[in-house]
Symmetry: C2
Subunit: 142 residues, 2 copies
């Protein structure tokens, strides 16, 4: 989704009513330079604290899932105890910082194309994604 633009049109295009709440969420999610990785709680905090806008938690859940269904967001499974979402909806690889619990996108060029030799009969491959878990490299530690 392009930045600094008419989210009303974008929402209409996919058949979502451009309500105040949805437009606000678009601003938070897509008015930025880089891919944004977040949890529902992150998003609620940003809207209520940084943007000083009252929004119901249920609406954030509803809207995030509406966006997901329409292809505006992608859910990422990294940590079974937390649900992450990603404004980059293409299949791509991630670094996951186990210290900060932060997700970082991996460029195409950072990892060679992955060749899968095994076939599962009757099944087609939908996506191939790599997760690289990293953590601080203090030799002094432990």
């Amino acid at each position: 989704m392009p930045k600094n633009c008419n989210f009303i049109e974008k929402l209409r295009e996919v058949g979502l009513r451009p309500t105040k709440q949805r437009i606000k969420m678009c601003e938070v999610l897509y008015n930025r330079e880089k891919t944004f990785h977040f949890t529902i709680n992150d998003l609620v905090k940003i809207i209520s604290e940084k943007m000083n806008e009252k929004i119901s938690l249920a609406t954030v859940y509803n809207t995030v899932h509406a966006f997901e269904k329409k292809g505006y967001l992608k859910e990422i499974s990294i940590d079974s105890h937390k649900s992450y979402f990603d404004t980059n909806t293409s299949a791509h690889h991630h670094f996951f910082d186990e210290d900060t619990h932060e997700l970082i996108d991996c460029d195409e060029s950072d990892i060679d194309k992955i060749n899968i030799r095994k076939k599962i009969t009757g099944k087609k491959i939908n996506s191939v994604e790599v997760l690289v878990r990293v953590a601080s490299d203090n030799q002094t530690q432990k």
Copy 2:
């Protein structure tokens, strides 16, 4: 963990008391030919239905986490709505069947070694795992 063997010794070795419940769980988890992927609910069902053994849900949670901490089990994040565990505790790749929600191990030989060109300063790589999502390949479908 070897199969058909003395789980009592194994448990003692890592400092877990070999209780009735833990031995039962070892039998379910490790008396099998292949890697076992399961959810807490799968495990409770197997113990109570197939093995006809009463066990408290809290004990299954406690014991799974005790095993995880001792390196007998590994948690796998695939689907943020469900927690999967794996009796194969080494870093390895998976196929995930989106139709059946089944996890399948990938052999070393099935995927070439993955070369990560990007470095994150001050961070070391803990693991590199690939998830291949597959689904039924019916041309007739949709």
